[in-house]
């Protein structure tokens, strides 16, 4: 049937984006591919239940989100995660500030330009992806759940079994690490 064929084509087209989305959450190529595979199969099986109210790709992403959450729970159950306590000191963050809480001279943030222009630059995304990979696993997971999947910190805490305060500490550190990493990679390239 024409419609089915059309959807199959759209699934093939969106697959790479599904994989990189899953990879940012799961931090494991094989598990990310598996979650996407399951989501694609599920999307084809449930093809008839797709209502035209949302876009087709949005609907498929929605299915993938559940598969990712399942896979994350499994990772955690199998003891593959470091403890999620945000209470320890973080050297990488402390290096950005002086003892008195002011920015270190070489860590002071500079302008990244207008967001619209920045987002159109493909190099920015290469730096962004590299910096996501460089994040510690837990920081990357919590950041992905919050900013990519768009869950509230309340939901994340329920999902991961941590206190909300802890979640905020982890996100604060993740953002500081990301910004320092992106600034290094992004602005250096801008001024050769």
């Amino acid at each position: 049937m024409k419609e089915k064929e059309d959807r199959l084509q759209r699934l093939t087209a969106v697959r790479p984006r599904l994989v990189s989305f899953a990879l940012m959450h799961l931090r494991d190529r094989e598990q990310a591919e598996d979650a996407v595979q399951e989501a694609l199969v599920s999307a084809m099986e449930k093809n008839d239940t797709f209502s035209e109210r949302s876009g087709y790709e949005t609907w498929v992403f929605g299915i993938l989100k559940y598969k990712i959450l399942d896979a994350m729970r499994a990772q955690k159950r199998q003891g593959k995660w470091q403890p999620l306590d945000g209470e320890q000191d973080d050297d990488a963050i402390d290096r950005q500030f002086q003892q008195n809480g002011r920015w270190q001279e070489d860590a002071r943030p500079s302008s990244w330009g207008e967001p619209e222009a920045t987002f159109e630059n493909e190099y920015f995304w290469r730096v962004f992806d590299a910096c996501m990979i460089a994040l510690p696993d837990n920081a990357a997971r919590v950041f992905s759940l919050r900013e990519l999947m768009g869950l509230s910190t309340e939901d994340i805490c329920r999902e991961l079994g941590i206190k909300e305060n802890n979640c905020w500490v982890i996100l604060h550190r993740a953002r500081l690490r990301l910004r320092a990493c992106i600034e290094k990679g992004w602005l250096k390239e801008e001024t050769p």
């Binding site: 920045t118 919050r146 990519l148 905020w168 604060h172």
Partner: protein, 62 residues
């Protein structure tokens, strides 16, 4: 309030509504500190960057 603490509030702002007191102290700090103003923009940009996976299949706006 120093810059490190200010970045905590900037981060928090992306996740929940700040209290009146928090908003006030952050705003005061930002008027005095250009580095923190950039950091605030960067956190907001990171937040927006997270939406790049949102499929744009049928609606034109956010």
């Amino acid at each position: 309030m120093m810059c490190k603490e200010a970045t905590r509030l900037m981060s928090l702002k992306q996740d929940r509504t700040l209290t009146f007191q928090e908003r006030l102290s952050l705003r005061l700090h930002l008027t005095m500190c250009s580095a923190c103003r950039e950091c605030d923009r960067q956190f907001t940009l990171l937040h927006k960057a997270g939406r790049r996976f949102d499929p744009e299949d049928d609606d034109d706006g956010p």
